[in-house]
């Protein structure tokens, strides 16, 4: 690791710690800790959502995927963008109106019940942890490649940074780390794309010709069929991506950090714009990599293609640019994992500790204490897991989280908000069946059962890598059938609830 790398690295760490210090002085109450007291503007929150969403895997991975697989790599990235339509149209505003700190609050606004809260908390917890561990593992590997520090050190550094952010700065620090990351990431990818264009004298045709020369696919590079071959697999992947985002707790709790519904809409729009532009720029970077570096060299450097962007930076701008891009990748990693830590923390300390164990009888101070301790514990445990899972392929956990979110969280959220006859039992059955279906299908699928390198060395019982196509309908069906067979006993004033979900207005009717 040379001095330039080290300096940028230190600069990023110092900056984020300054943000944390600043935020720590403003994180004195639970509402500040969990939701930054709703003080972010829509644009800031949109940046933070984009920051939550664009992981190092998608920054480096997508560039690599495009460079290696052409059109399919780009198609893969489109799913991330489309998923925001579901969030914007169906989920964002009701979540803001109904909940306070956690996703469990939303469902419990209609069905106040400890069982629901348990399941919601466990779901959120599983999603956040399962999302976090592969991120940590991947980032450990990534930093080893980029900065040449060993795996354990990099996981420890990232793990302790994310823990520090969340424990001391809560949602405020997390949000601002994500905002800074988004700004840096966007501006650097933008400049890097400009450099790619200028490298070929702003002539797009030259670039495309060079790309064709650089990959073994030639003209076929711009055609589909290199990465995504099985149509069921593709459909399954997409449906999980598109529906899963709307059930991801770390995205949804971000809607509590703004003041009103207008800001919620603005934040989703900002996030969509940023993510859209970002993937457009990754396309340029991917093409640039294929043209400047070439397929063969890239595969040799790292077979997953993760090094595409850094290699491109080095080829175009030398060590200085490479160091800068690596620093950005590092920021990306810490920002994403910090967002996940806070969502897991909320699920545990707000739902389980405050509402279930203490029955809502805790003081402000105790809640804050509990939140900080759980953040610490979550950070510690995930770091330890990540250290232990170094040599095991855990990337499938990412797709698992999306499937769990889409099959367990989303049906319940949607029905709670929109379906009048939805019942408490339906919610429970929906959540449990979605959770069980996605977990078991994954266990039986080729990620785990694999003749070559699976955890269980045998033919997979279920043959899809992405079981979303089966698991998601099971989640929805469970919720529907549960409600039809076990309708609500007590009368619930659905109109009143619906009004509150859509507008935030609480109607006081006679006799209520």
């Amino acid at each position: 690791m040379n001095f330039t790398y080290f300096l940028f690295f230190v600069c990023i760490v110092v900056c984020t710690l300054i943000i944390t210090y600043w935020a720590a002085r403003r994180s004195k109450t639970t509402i500040q800790f969990y939701t930054a007291a709703g003080r972010l503007t829509g644009i800031q929150n949109g940046m933070a959502i984009a920051g939550d969403y664009i992981s190092a895997a998608s920054f480096l991975g997508i560039v690599g995927a495009i460079a290696l697989n052409g059109y399919d790599g780009f198609l893969y990235s489109l799913g991330f963008l489309v998923s925001y339509l579901v969030v914007l149209l169906f989920v964002a505003e009701p979540v803001h109106h109904l909940g306070k700190y956690s996703l469990g609050d939303v469902i419990c606004a209609r069905f106040p019940s400890n069982q629901i809260r348990w399941i919601m908390a466990i779901g959120s917890f599983i999603i956040s942890i399962f999302y976090m561990i592969p991120q940590l593992v991947a980032s450990g590997l990534l930093l080893r490649l980029l900065l040449n520090i060993d795996y354990s050190t990099s996981v420890l550094v990232i793990g302790s940074l994310m823990t520090v952010y969340v424990v001391f700065g809560g949602m405020i620090a997390t949000s601002w780390v994500q905002i800074v990351k988004t700004i840096l990431l966007m501006s650097s990818t933008f400049l890097l794309s400009l450099i790619v264009f200028s490298y070929y004298n702003w002539d797009v045709y030259t670039l495309i010709d060079k790309v064709k020369m650089g990959t073994p696919f030639g003209d076929q590079f711009f055609m589909p069929g290199h990465l995504l071959t099985n149509p069921y697999e593709v459909f399954s992947l997409y449906i999980a991506l598109i529906l899963g985002t709307a059930g991801l707790p770390h995205i949804l709790i971000r809607f509590y950090t703004v003041r009103n519904a207008a800001e919620v809409r603005k934040s989703v729009l900002t996030a969509s714009w940023i993510i859209g532009l970002f993937y457009l720029m990754t396309l340029v970077l991917g093409l640039g990599t294929a043209a400047v570096i070439g397929y063969d060299y890239l595969i040799v450097a790292d077979s997953t293609g993760n090094l595409a962007a850094p290699l491109l930076a080095k080829a175009l701008g030398g060590d200085f640019l490479l160091a800068f891009i690596s620093a950005i990748a590092f920021t990306t990693v810490v920002a994403v994992v910090a967002g996940l830590v806070i969502s897991a923390t909320t699920a545990f300390s707000h739902d389980i500790y405050h509402h279930i164990i203490k029955k809502g009888n805790t003081t402000e101070k105790e809640q804050l204490r509990a939140a900080q301790w759980s953040a610490f514990a979550i950070g510690l445990i995930s770091t330890l897991f990540a250290l232990g899972l170094k040599n095991i392929n855990v990337t499938f956990l990412v797709s698992l989280t999306f499937i769990v979110a889409a099959s367990s969280n989303l049906p319940v959220i949607l029905f709670t908000i929109y379906w009048k006859r939805f019942s408490k039992t339906g919610a429970l059955i929906g959540m449990i069946s979605g959770l069980v279906a996605s977990l078991s299908l994954l266990m039986l699928g080729p990620h785990i059962m694999n003749v070559e390198n699976g955890w269980i060395l045998r033919e997979p019982i279920f043959n899809l890598y992405n079981p979303g196509i089966i698991a998601i309908p099971i989640g929805f069906l469970g919720a529907i059938l549960g409600s039809l067979f076990f309708p609500s006993k007590e009368e619930i004033d659905f109109e009143r609830f619906y009004l509150k979900a859509q507008t935030g207005i609480t109607l006081r009717r006679e006799g209520k």
Partner: protein, 587 residues
């Protein structure tokens, strides 16, 4: 790379020295204090633009990776490359003055860099306005404060050189020279720029802090003075205490002399020159008249402005502060100074503060008095109310008595007249002598006694020793009335009411007791714990009495109620013995 960093830091050190000297020059400092309008934005952009040009000259020239200039940058050959320090000035301009100032300063620096030339001139030119704009926007985005903290600035300062390097790569693609230059200078520039920007921000922050501290001190002083002047203002008008206020101001503010004047003449003068600035002099200077008319602070900057007849007068300048009450300037306070230069912004702030505070206090006192007067009027209005039923019943009684016992009827008529006269009279005073109040009660008792002679017995006892005691008028009578109407409502025979006035240590105790049904436990609770009693339960008389006693004689005169264990109840209160008149607001 290390050497280059050190060279850059040395150059920046020079720049910082110049900047430090500039922040000590008062004229230059005043630039930082000004509010932002179009004119100031242009001036700021120009100032920082010039500073950026100077910073460019403080930069270094590279040729094939070697630093070739020993001194300042003057001439740049086409194959040389300038490492300009202008970005520092531009970032500061953006952070301090906002995006527009940053952009303006950046354009000025950019034009200059074009004329300097060298390799990469186009990127160097482009980066300056862009940085200014972005720095301005970033400053706004991160912080609402006037000057962002040095640590934030340290972070922001990292990015302009990175932007510059990337622009170089964008604009000079596939150029080995440029990539080599970027690798060589990128890191040193990042380091030196961010440090320099942080130090600059800290320096400007200190200058602004100094100003704020001065203002804070002045404010604190004004507050202290206003607080100490409060006793003078509260009792009587300003003119009664002109001396006291003049002394206070003279001691506290440390100016050469103080004078307090009314609308037309000097009421008090304290300090240097009091041998010829005499009390009673008429106000003559046009400035004082202007202050009286405009109600705004005026400043006399010369001896002619002060217009002292004595040519030897040591006073040269003055601040004239109008004091207003109810929209009229009733008084002037003048701060005199021996030299015009002694009037700093701090003094002006102080004078303004004192003037405003005193005027506000006068306003507050006036409204307090007004409120008290209104309350008084309301109370008297209540007191003046006579129960019409009582009047009719008594007249009826008299009519009956005329036939049976004309002598008694005459006596009762006179008592009624006394009672009525008293009731009319009570509207004029808020406190009367206890003797008068007793006569009133006696008159009432006689009337009642005549009406209910077979039903009840009223006993009035007063210790002779009490004299010169003041009581709110019509306080005892409603209590007696209350006893008759509620306590003895259902008692048809042997009703008994005692009115006792006794001396008790240094207070006078008034007791009204009866052998009626007594009070509800809840009622007693309400009265004894300051809650308003339930009005429809006949408590209104009691409530009014209690209110009047508390507001006119204080909380210790409040009414207490007790039930006797057997039957009946006792209502009592105490009033001060002697001519203690507190909170009367009689004038």
């Amino acid at each position: 790379m290390k050497d280059l960093t050190i060279i850059l830091l040395e150059r920046i050190g020079l720049l910082l020295v110049i900047a430090f000297v500039l922040t000590r020059v008062p004229n230059f400092r005043s630039l930082l204090y000004r509010e932002y309008d179009t004119k100031m934005t242009i001036i700021h952009a120009c100032v920082f633009g010039v500073f950026a040009i100077a910073s460019s000259h403080f930069g270094i020239v590279l040729s094939n990776g070697e630093v070739i200039n020993k001194g300042l940058v003057w001439i740049v050959e086409p194959d040389h490359m300038v490492v300009s320090l202008s970005l520092i000035a531009i970032v500061i301009a953006g952070l301090l003055g906002g995006p527009i100032v940053g952009l303006g300063a950046g354009i000025i620096a950019a034009v200059h860099l074009v004329f300097l030339g060298g390799i990469g001139w186009f990127a160097n030119m482009l980066v300056n306005p862009l940085t200014g704009l972005l720095a301005g926007l970033t400053g706004r985005f991160f912080s609402k404060a006037r000057v962002i903290s040095p640590i934030q600035a340290l972070f922001i300062g990292v990015f302009p050189p990175i932007l510059q390097m990337q622009l170089l790569i964008v604009l000079y693609p596939q150029n080995e020279n440029v990539i080599q230059f970027v690798n060589l200078t990128g890191l040193p520039l990042v380091l030196s720029n961010s440090i320099a920007i942080a130090v600059f921000t800290a320096m400007i922050g200190i200058v602004l802090n100094e100003q704020e501290n001065e203002a804070a001190l002045a404010t604190k002083q004004a507050l202290t003075i206003a607080e100490e002047a409060l006793p003078f203002l509260k009792s009587g008008s300003l003119s009664d205490h002109a001396d006291g206020i003049a002394n206070l101001l003279y001691e506290r503010s440390g100016v050469a002399a103080i004078s307090v004047t009314s609308q037309d003449e000097v009421l008090a003068f304290k300090g240097i020159g009091d041998d010829h600035h005499q009390i009673g002099h008429k106000i003559i200077t046009p400035l004082s008249k202007e202050a009286l008319e405009t109600k705004e602070i005026q400043i006399a900057y010369s001896k002619t402005d002060i217009a002292c007849q004595n040519p030897e007068c040591p006073l040269e300048a003055a601040i004239i502060i109008p004091i207003t009450e109810a929209n009229d300037t009733i008084s002037l306070i003048k701060f005199y100074f021996r030299k015009t230069q002694h009037i700093r912004p701090v003094e002006k702030v102080l004078a303004q503060g004192i003037g405003d505070l005193i005027s506000n206090q006068l306003k507050a006192i006036a409204s307090e008095n007004l409120k008290a007067n209104i309350r008084d009027a309301e109370l008297r209005n209540l007191q003046a109310q006579i129960n019409p039923h009582f009047l009719f019943n008594t007249l009826h009684l008299i009519a009956t008595l005329f036939r049976v016992d004309p002598k008694r009827a005459r006596h009762i008529t006179i008592q009624l007249a006394n009672f009525m006269r008293f009731n009319l009279g009570i509207a004029s005073e808020s406190l009367i002598l206890l003797e008068r109040e007793c006569e009133h009660v006696k008159a009432y008792i006689e009337i009642i006694q005549a009406r209910f002679s077979n039903r009840l017995q009223i006993n009035f006892e007063q210790e002779r020793t009490v004299s010169n005691v003041l009581i709110p008028p019509s306080t005892i009578q409603p209590l007696v009335e209350n006893s008759i109407q509620h306590g003895l409502k259902s008692v048809t025979t042997n009703g008994k009411i005692d009115v006792l006035i006794k001396k008790q240590e240094d207070r006078i105790m008034v007791i009204v007791q009866d052998n009626g049904v007594g009070f509800d436990e809840k009622e007693i609770e309400n009265i004894n714990h300051k809650r308003k009693t339930n009005k429809d339960n006949g408590g209104i008389g009691l409530y009014n009495v209690n209110q009047r006693l508390i507001s006119l004689l204080g909380e210790e005169s409040r009414v207490y109620v007790e039930n006797f264990p057997s039957r009946g109840s006792k209502v009592y209160f105490t009033i001060p013995n002697g001519a203690v008149r507190r909170n009367t607001n009689a004038n």
